[in-house]
């Protein structure tokens, strides 16, 4: 593959790039889906078409895997070169997604041949169908090749339709914008939004605003009240339906904040939201996926005779553009109470300052502190007054890392090698099936012309299977085929000198037993 531009690398490594459409919500089984339902071809021609198509695609897949192997090895030697690593990783994402697309394209009767379902190839009357022992060749999922993972995500797009623009123009609010919508995986998956179009309705009243998510016809899905959209900065609203909205705020006027809601009442804003359920295409080498976790080692309390200060609602917040995301680890969080000028600090294990805010007014009942580095929490005050006291607590912060950060190219190369073996095995299986179909077909043609089949024809129709099975799978009886066989046998018996030993092997004892049974009206079971 040729070198990628910076823009291409960025596109290839976009978490939503190569994502697949997801119909079910997270953890939901698709109703009516019958797993492992076999695929049957209807006749020998269909079997042959399927095999030829599969054979061609498997060859392409093997080529793709070899390219991926070369790339992965080049990734191993690119240690320290971040751009090169990102480029190789992006290419691997692209190629592995392409691999899945090829697998999805090998279909029979609308179903993927290499999705792990049993496949039976019909060979016509008189021949046992081939059980094509296919493997699941998708790069993701249980029993897959383990080259990628499908992780639930969603694409969220905010736009403003004509009706939104009419509403928004009527209020002419300045300094409030929905910066982005994103999938919020920490919510209850059973309530996830379905793929579709929705409306976001904002009733702006400064620190006591309301954000509603509704259907396009206006039915409320979820409503969040008491949202603080006052001042400047970023604010996010998490909905339980798997959605996070991030607002960007600018307070530009001295006399009022964005809109004179105190004098003129709340301002209404409207936006259109498109939600699409997706499965992200993720390449990982670490099997251990970190679960998001922020917890205090204990519940700290600062109290005086009037009241107390406690901490709550530790959250993952969006990272500000000018800040670095907090690394996973244990931190020391301290709150120095000085009324309206309190100070909040976050230190890492080595004592380095990772978050700092001063001039925080903690006199209110509940104050949200957001360091802007992905960590926020609430300070609750029930009347505490004593200045100068400090509350300190260790906090464990664990957030899922971007897959590239833990990516081990050496380990991935091993997985590709294993995948190459699996695909090579499948090529053999398909090749054997192709030969067998061709030979069965040849044998039929020979039988039809009373010619003498060769030993290859014998192998093709699986003589041993037929003998061992004592009849094998029942096939529809075709008298013309039987007639052809009788004629064929006639030719065979007179073209070899060893015909008799092939059948005339009945021992005198066996014959005597048969005679006895015949005499008794066939009432005794033949042993």
């Amino acid at each position: 593959m040729e070198n990628l531009t910076t823009k291409q690398i960025e596109d290839f490594n976009n978490p939503l790039a190569f994502a697949r459409t997801r119909e079910a919500r997270v953890g939901q089984s698709v109703i009516g889906l019958v797993e492992n339902r076999p695929i049957w071809t209807e006749d020998i021609e269909a079997s042959y078409r399927l095999i030829l198509g599969a054979s061609e695609r498997l060859e392409t897949l093997e080529g793709n895997l070899n390219t991926m192997l070369d790339l992965s090895r080049s990734g191993e030697s690119a240690r320290g070169n971040e751009q090169k690593i990102e480029e190789v990783y992006g290419k691997l994402r692209s190629l592995s997604a392409g691999f899945d697309q090829i697998i999805d394209a090998v279909v029979f009767d609308g179903r993927s041949v290499f999705a792990g379902d049993p496949v039976y190839l019909d060979l016509g009357g008189g021949a046992r169908p081939i059980d094509l022992e296919t493997s699941r060749l998708l790069t993701y999922g249980e029993d897959g090749l383990g080259l990628s993972a499908a992780e639930a995500t969603a694409s969220v797009n905010i736009s403003y339709s004509i009706d939104d623009q009419i509403v928004n123009k009527a209020f002419d609010i300045v300094g409030l914008d929905i910066a982005e919508g994103s999938y919020n995986q920490s919510t209850d998956p059973t309530r996830e939004l379905e793929t579709g179009t929705y409306k976001v309705k904002i009733s702006y009243e400064g620190p006591d605003s309301t954000v509603q998510l509704t259907t396009t016809t206006g039915a409320i899905i979820e409503s969040k009240t008491g949202v603080d959209l006052s001042g400047s900065g970023r604010e996010w609203v998490d909905f339980d339906v798997g959605l996070r909205l991030t607002f960007e705020m600018d307070s530009l006027f001295g006399s009022f904040d964005k809109w004179d809601y105190e004098g003129r009442g709340p301002a209404n804003l409207s936006a259109t939201l498109n939600y699409e359920r997706l499965d992200g295409h993720v390449l990982r080498t670490s099997d251990e996926v970190l679960e998001d976790k922020i917890e205090m080692k204990y519940d700290p309390v600062l109290s005086d005779g009037n009241g107390k200060i406690t901490l709550s609602d530790l959250n993952f917040s969006p990272v500000s553009v000018d800040k670095t995301a907090l690394d996973n680890g244990v931190y020391s969080l301290s709150v120095e109470y000085k009324g309206e000028n309190s100070i909040v600090r976050l230190h890492d294990g080595l004592g380095r300052l990772q978050g700092y805010q001063f001039g925080v007014d903690l006199t209110g009942e509940k104050t949200t502190v957001d360091f802007g580095n992905g960590f926020s929490f609430d300070v609750n005050n029930t009347g505490y007054l004593q200045d100068g006291a400090t509350l300190t607590v260790p906090v464990e912060y664990q957030h899922e890392r971007p897959p590239l950060e833990d990516f081990d190219f050496s380990e991935y190369a091993k997985r590709i090698e294993a995948a190459i073996e699996v695909v090579a095995g499948q090529r053999e299986v398909v090749e054997e099936a192709r030969l067998r179909i061709e030979e069965v077909n040849n044998m039929r043609n020979l039988a039809a012309t009373s010619a003498i089949p060769n030993t290859a024809a014998l192998a093709a129709s699986g003589a041993l299977n037929i003998l061992a099975g004592g009849g094998g799978i029942s096939n529809p009886f075709d008298p013309s085929v039987t007639q052809a066989r009788l004629q064929l046998l006639g030719s065979q018996l007179f073209s070899t000198t060893t015909a008799l030993p092939a059948q005339a092997n009945q021992s005198p004892e066996a014959l005597a037993q048969l005679e006895l049974q015949s005499a008794n009206g066939w009432l005794v079971n033949y042993a």
């Binding site: 089949p453 014998l458 003998l467 009886f477 030993p501 005339a504 049974q517």
Partner: protein
Amino acid sequence: MGKKGKKAYQANQYSKAQSESKEAAGQRLVRVYELAIGAAQEQNSQGVRYCLSLLRHTLDPSSSPEVVLTQSQLYNDCEEILNNEDYPQLLNILEYLKGLWVARMRVDSMLQD
């Protein structure tokens, strides 16, 4: 009788025994077909199945795999026809098979002479 004459006599005796053994085996095979035909005429499916079972289990692929394959497929056909209780068709096939083997044995016998 000299040494050479004795050896020739022994070889001849051995060949004769072999030929008789082949003929006897052929006769037993034909007899099995006759029993199968008899059972089919009586429309005794169990009897036909016993005979077909013996015929199937005495096939020897090592001597002529092509013949064994075709025979085996024909026995499958016979069982299928038996399941459909189409006795005239079954008798037709069994008679045809018996006839083929009788003809083959005659050819063997002529070659032997």
